[in-house]
């Protein structure tokens, strides 16, 4: 019943002030539960530290990521170069910081893109049902038959490397999952009374989906989006590692690792530090996503 009230309130400006309070309390509740989960807070801290280091890269390091120092190749970690230098004498720490910008940017943009398309298609399929749903789901079956990393590899191989093409490849490979997620959530939300009420008051389908159903199904979609950030970072670095994705000299964690692979036997910093970066980022986002899921829906917790 409360959901019906809030949804009708939205059309009445006079009651507008009662709504933010309600919404705030729900968010507050989630935040409170989230701060109680140690793992989730650890994830959040890791993410905040990493993101701020990446954003503050020009302040933290005084080197240029493309600056080559041939006299100082393969330097082991020292106070001057805290992670050493690579095969061209470039500072590894600097390259990892700037590389993080590329990885994070591609990952976030792809999450937004694939969720945007996935939510649109998923809500159409879930809301209308019938033959629309059947057609979309059958097409999805075909897309899901290709493992998502392989699909990304195919698109990336066809389009060629580069930041924009990588975004496209990763986004497309993420669409099926966000679509499935949205569809199943909407299937359960659309049976609620407030949807019926909205329809009874004469709302159009589009309005019902956007104003009533989507806001009520944002939680699981948000959680899967957070977890997708980590997955995407793994896929991006995987693509760059096999020579697709982002190409040198642009620093990217996967391509740095690919360069390090050639010197596996002789020079460990070029393997260990990029690995650590990928691991920490994915670890942080995963913990954060898990914590968020438990906070939004405590029933899901074991």
């Amino acid at each position: 019943m409360t959901a019906v009230e809030t949804s009708t309130n939205r059309t009445m400006p006079a009651d507008a002030d009662s709504e933010p309070i309600k919404k705030k309390s729900m968010l507050g509740e989630i935040a409170k539960r989230f701060t109680r989960s140690k793992a989730g807070m650890l994830g959040l801290c890791v993410v905040i530290i990493l993101v701020s280091m990446i954003l503050l890269a020009p302040v933290i390091t005084r080197y240029d990521y493309a600056f080559q120092d041939p006299a100082n190749r393969f330097a082991y970690p020292s106070p001057q170069h805290i992670m050493g230098t690579d095969n061209f004498g470039r500072d590894i720490f600097t390259r990892l910081l700037y590389g993080g910008r590329i990885s994070l940017m591609i990952s976030l943009v792809s999450v937004v893109l694939s969720n945007f398309i996935g939510i649109a298609l998923g809500s159409i399929a879930g809301y209308f049902g019938g033959w629309v749903d059947l057609t979309v789901m059958r097409l999805l079956d075909i897309l899901m038959a290709i493992p998502s990393l392989i699909l990304a590899i195919a698109i990336s191989a066809a389009l060629g490397s580069g930041t924009f093409n990588t975004i496209l490849a990763i986004s497309v490979s993420g669409i099926p999952y966000s679509m499935r997620m949205t569809r199943s959530t909407i299937l359960s939300v659309k049976t609620n009374d407030f949807v019926e009420a909205a329809r009874a008051t004469g709302s159009k389908n589009f309005r019902i989906i956007v104003k009533h159903i989507l806001p009520n199904s944002f939680a699981p979609v948000l959680v899967s989006a957070t977890l997708l950030i980590g997955t995407n970072i793994m896929s991006i670095s995987g693509l760059s590692f096999i020579g697709l994705g982002v190409q040198p000299p642009t620093p990217e964690w996967g391509s740095i690792l690919a360069a390090g692979r050639e010197f596996l036997r002789d020079f460990w910093p070029l393997i260990v530090f990029p690995s650590l970066c990928i691991f920490l980022t994915v670890f942080g986002f995963n913990l954060f996503g898990d914590g968020l899921r438990d906070a939004i829906d405590p029933r899901l917790k074991d």
């Binding site: 038959a145 290709i146 392989i150 066809a158 980590g230 690792l257 995963n286 074991d302």
Partner: protein
Amino acid sequence: MLKYTLKRILWMVPVMLGVIIIVFTITFFSPGDPVMNILGSNNYTPESYAAKAAQLGLDKSYVEQMGTYIWNLVTKADLGRSYLTNIPVSVELANRIPVTMRLSLLSILVMMGIGLPFGILSALKQYSVTDFTVTALSLVMAAMPSFVLALLCALFFGVVLRWLPPTGISTWRHWIMPVFCTAGGGIAVFTRMTRTTMLDVVRQDYIRTARAKGLNENIVIRKHALKNCMIPLTTLTGAFVATIFSGSIIVETIFNIPGMGTYLLLGIIGRDYPIITGSIFVISLLVCTVNLFVDIVYTLIDPRIKAQFISPKKKAKLMDKLVQTKGAEAQ
């Protein structure tokens, strides 16, 4: 039951057709000219270019080319020839499929062999030190992409400690690292899922009943809890098949394993589109087949699902039998 299985197998036909169309379209409309690639960008004449294009069938329209490709694939299992080496893709793949299959299936076995006992242990001792350690380790493993794990293992066990050979597949010792690295992320997620499923199952009424009637705890876990755990876990295994396969593709390139992954990579580096299209199609086909197999196993082990697909005749017979035994008991 048979009807369901047949239906599932038949459904694979349009799905695979769709996969070919998608992959063919992606590679067809990609920039870069294969003819130019073969002839070299500056030593060809318009005549030799046209001749080569006609020989490869590249001068025909998109629909015609796709039609020929699908026709050759369906009737002759022919996936075209590599542009660069001129070896048929199907011949090369036939040599490489067993290697990738072996790597992937071994990884799935390792994933279940490690994930299952640790997940159960962690669920049975919830909130203990063991549980905490297992959960923490699985969180760490889940955040490691297989190729990062593979590189770190190759560095640590192959180069620093020299325990295991870093490349090749000649002895069983060569397989240890690739299999574990491919399984890595899967082990982590499978352990967590087993834990969650087990926690869910041990809270059910029938477990309480089993305990209440004085059964040994060991038997309760083994016979009552574990059996009911297996059903959701089997579906989960299906979900991991795709992840494990795509993980093995990259891991192969690190350990120099001559499987489909290294082949696909060769195709990508050389812009050799028949290799790319063929490998991706075969990988998808394998993933779908293994998934189908898992689904069928799932229906076989779950009596509830099995009951749904029982034929009406058999059902009537079973009902009769049930009534008779009930009647006999009443007498």
